[in-house]
């Protein structure tokens, strides 16, 4: 760090809210921390590491939630409305780091803060209102039990609709969060979800229903480099259109990849029991966009694409339902994975799920597990409280979702997540459950032949994806031109390196779809904050964050055994294009290659020298555990 830092980009302040005492205080963030972790997930993880007492139950009041944004948030950099939320994963007790798009991040910054730390537990349901550097806790008893959409409407009506002077964003939990469903999520700006790790349940355990942010404070820019910063953002906006992701996602959204993924056997069908399903033509992006729905564009903050839409179903049993255009994963998860082959139905289910406030990953593999179990006779209709949970029975799925969110009857068991529910139900369930890391469900793919995805999820320390999935493409920034076509040593090495780069991107905290070249991104950061990062340092920051996440988890008792997948994920697909492929036989070799490239020992633990080199000496004591 040279001279004064930061010269721009940061508000420089953190807001600490202690819900137990109701005390709200403001603190300055150490510039050294900002330099070493930049912001977003990195800064969040570091602050959480310092705040956390090891070994607590996730629902212990002493646990904290850290919401962090980065220097680029709220600027002209494309996709700059994202925020990152970190906390203890309610499913595994390890670290959870989730991100969500929309407008919330930018408005948190305009309200005056880079970081929001929430500790303690309120006596009754409250919400937090932050405006122009002033924060208050308000009674939320009349919002109890309300869905995330109603909560958003009520609060935005109270604090002003959109307009010249009112820029209000609401992040809230739904009934699932209030009832501490272990995979409850945080939803902001009507349908943008920070899903991973059950952080909504964590908020529910603290009785914090919602966070409202609005503000009119300016984000400073390094005055010396104003012109160059603007040039860089313009270049970033142009480059974002020309990446592989910009060309496909920018035009067709993520659903544009559905048939491509299906042709490779990557779409989960019926809880991974098969890879083939009828009526694939209904999942063509043209059919979904032109025939099954009508749509109007709906963009996140400062997005240069027009890929998100607000849609209404025009065909099928749920004609007239409205919601966000589904993402690929939701389309697969609430579609083929439940034996539902109508895209309109997935839109309806997605809206319901957003309103109840649950993580779609965990939910889809939970319900599909029950459907398979019901088909195979592991449970009877009586066990399911009379719900006829057959493949493709939408009404039954809806009823099941509502019961899970209320923890009613069988819902109380399922609300514990895939791993816990399968253990509790016993019988054949542990063999058919889909989860990784001894606790959380993977992203909604059939990852068994998608090496980048399965390996990435298994070794991830963040509760979700940690590295880039390079199964089908290389990475120009990392000078990796060969994709990971096989589960071998190369996969492990590539995964380790791409994790460093991905985590650097998560520290920058911008929309992952709007990626520019590494050079442009680093230059934009330098001209905004007056820093002097280069590619080498960027990778070091990413590596620092990965190792800190690892140390957080090791401190919580994570062992090599956690880098594993459930029995179902170890079996090869029985049909389809990926038939017979599995990572299981070579997994140990890939894992050792990953550990070796990461600089860890054979048990997946960072060495003392590595931690010291990365500036993580404070984490060394946790190695002794």
């Amino acid at each position: 760090m040279k001279g004064q830092f930061p010269k721009g980009g940061y508000m420089g302040k953190a807001l600490r809210v202690d819900l137990s005492s109701g005390k709200i205080s403001e603190e300055k963030i150490d510039p050294q921390l900002l330099y070493e972790y930049i912001g977003g997930s990195g800064l969040g993880t570091r602050l959480l590491y310092d705040e956390t007492i090891p070994g607590l139950d996730p629902y212990d009041a002493r646990n904290c939630i850290v919401i962090a944004v980065g220097p680029l948030t709220g600027t002209l950099v494309p996709g700059s409305g994202i925020y990152s939320i970190t906390g203890r994963n309610t499913l595994t007790g390890l670290l959870a780091s989730a991100q969500s798009n929309g407008f919330f991040g930018a408005r948190l910054k305009h309200a005056g803060y880079d970081v929001l730390i929430v500790c303690g537990k309120a006596e009754k349901l409250v919400y937090l209102h932050i405006v122009d550097g002033k924060a208050t806790l308000e009674d939320a008893s009349r919002l109890a039990g309300k869905g995330t959409f109603d909560t958003d409407s009520w609060l935005r009506r109270k604090y002003g609709e959109d307009g010249f002077d009112h820029h209000v964003s609401v992040a809230s939990i739904g009934p699932a969060g209030e009832n501490m469903v272990r995979f409850a999520c945080l939803a902001n700006d009507r349908g943008h979800i920070a899903a991973t790790g059950g952080l909504g349940a964590l908020m529910g355990s603290k009785k914090l229903k919602a966070i409202v942010v609005q503000g009119t404070l300016p984000i400073p820019i390094d005055p010396a480099d104003e012109e160059r910063f603007l040039e860089n953002t313009v270049r970033w906006r142009e480059e974002a259109h020309n990446t592989g992701m910009g060309k496909t996602t920018g035009k067709f959204g993520t659903i544009g990849s559905f048939l491509n993924f299906h042709s490779k056997g990557w779409v989960p069908v019926k809880n991974l029991t098969t890879n083939i399903f009828p009526g694939t033509e209904k999942f063509h992006v043209d059919y979904i966009r032109k025939k099954a729905h009508r749509s109007v564009p709906r963009s996140c903050y400062n997005c240069t694409f027009v890929h998100c839409h607000s849609v209404q179903v025009t065909r099928g049993p749920y004609k007239g339902a409205v919601g966000e255009e589904v993402e690929y994963e939701i389309l697969a998860g609430f579609g083929p994975n439940w034996g539902i082959y109508d895209p309109g139905t997935t839109t309806m289910l997605n809206t319901l799920n957003d309103d109840l406030g649950m993580d779609a990953k965990e939910l889809t593999f939970l319900v599909s597990m029950m459907m398979e179990g019901y088909e195979k006779g592991f449970v009877t209709r009586k066990d399911l409280d009379g719900i006829d949970l057959q493949w493709g029975n939408t009404e039954a799925a809806v009823e099941m979702m509502k019961r899970i969110s209320r923890r009613e009857g069988i819902g109380a068991i399922l609300a514990e997540g895939v791993k816990r529910a399968s253990d509790r139900l016993g019988g054949g369930f542990p063999d058919i459950a889909v989860y990784v890391k001894k606790g959380n469900a993977p992203h909604i793919h059939d990852p068994r032949s998608r090496w980048g995805t399965i390996f990435n999820q298994v070794v991830s320390n963040a509760g979700s994806q940690e590295a880039q999935d390079l199964t089908a493409r290389g990475s120009a920034d990392l000078e990796i031109d060969k994709p990971t076509a096989d589960p071998d040593e190369y996969l492990g090495a590539v995964n380790a390196k791409s994790a460093w780069w991905r985590q650097f991107q998560e520290c920058l905290i911008y929309c992952y779809y709007q990626t520019a070249t590494g050079k442009t991104m680093i230059e934009t950061l330098n001209t905004l904050t007056g820093s002097d990062y280069d590619m080498e340092q960027a990778l070091k920051i990413g590596r620092r964050v990965v190792n800190l996440m690892r140390m957080f988890n090791i401190r919580e008792g994570m062992t090599k055994g956690h880098d594993s997948f459930s029995p179902r994920l170890g079996t090869p697909p029985v049909d389809g294009p990926a038939m017979g492929k599995t990572i299981a036989p070579t997994f140990e070799r890939v894992l050792q290659s990953y550990y070796k490239t990461s600089g860890w020992d054979q048990e997946g633990r960072p060495t003392r020298e590595l931690l010291e080199e990365l500036g993580l000496s404070f984490a060394v004591p946790a190695l002794k555990k």
């Binding site: 709220g74 600027t75 002209l76 407008f103 305009h110 409407s153 935005r156 609709e161 959109d162 307009g163 010249f164 002077d165 820029h167 009507r190 503000g215 009119t216 404070l217 300016p218 984000i219 400073p220 820019i221 005055p223 104003e226 603007l230 906006r237 009508r294 109007v296 564009p297 709906r298 963009s299 996140c300 903050y301 400062n302 997005c303 240069t304 694409f305 027009v306 607000s310 209404q312 409205v322």
Partner: protein, 174 residues
């Protein structure tokens, strides 16, 4: 024909990039509340929603703000754009123009206690350069009049319906 901002609200995606570009071009900060343009997003009501409405100065040919100003601080530039500008030095902050503008495009700064408005960035508007969807284009358009005929835009129909239904609701409640 003057070169002005052509606004097609129906193309707007609501990304609010124009607000950032505007506040940066005019105030050298990123702060949507200092923006001269607003992409207002209506999120609730009947589908199709969200409905985005771009609100900014239309540089009206019969500008009401210009006529009501008691100190003649507002004048029309004699360049090809014919844009309406505010002389901040002579502005007394009475707010008459803010009331007179039918678009809510005349803004009041709480800090300086004076008004400010879109002045087309001196003839090269930053918002039009950044707009990703083509909702804002800087081109030659027919001069705009702040009278009824030109109000037949979707945005005002929606807005007036909204306020009408609000009034009706109040009456019913009574």
């Amino acid at each position: 024909m003057p070169k002005q901002l052509k606004i097609s609200s129906e193309k707007c995606t609501g990304c609010k990039g124009c607000e950032l570009a505007c506040s940066y071009a005019n105030e050298k900060v990123f702060n949507p509340s200092m923006s001269r343009i607003a992409a207002i997003t209506f999120l609730e009501g009947k589908y199709p929603l969200p409905y985005n409405f771009v609100s900014t100065c239309r540089q009206c040919a019969d500008a009401p703000c210009l006529t009501v100003c008691p100190v003649k601080a507002i004048r029309r530039m004699k360049d090809p754009t014919g844009r309406v500008v505010v002389d901040r030095d002579s502005c007394i902050g009475c707010g008459k123009c803010v009331n007179a503008c039918p678009f809510g495009a005349m803004l009041f700064s709480r800090e300086t206690k004076k008004v400010f408005k879109c002045e087309l960035c001196g003839g090269d508007p930053a918002c039009a350069k950044i707009c990703p969807s083509g909702a804002l284009v800087y081109t030659q358009v027919r001069p705009f009049h702040a009278k009824a005929a030109d109000f037949q835009m979707k945005g005002f129909v929606v807005l007036s319906e909204k306020s009408k239904s609000g009034i009706r609701k109040q009456k019913e409640e009574r």
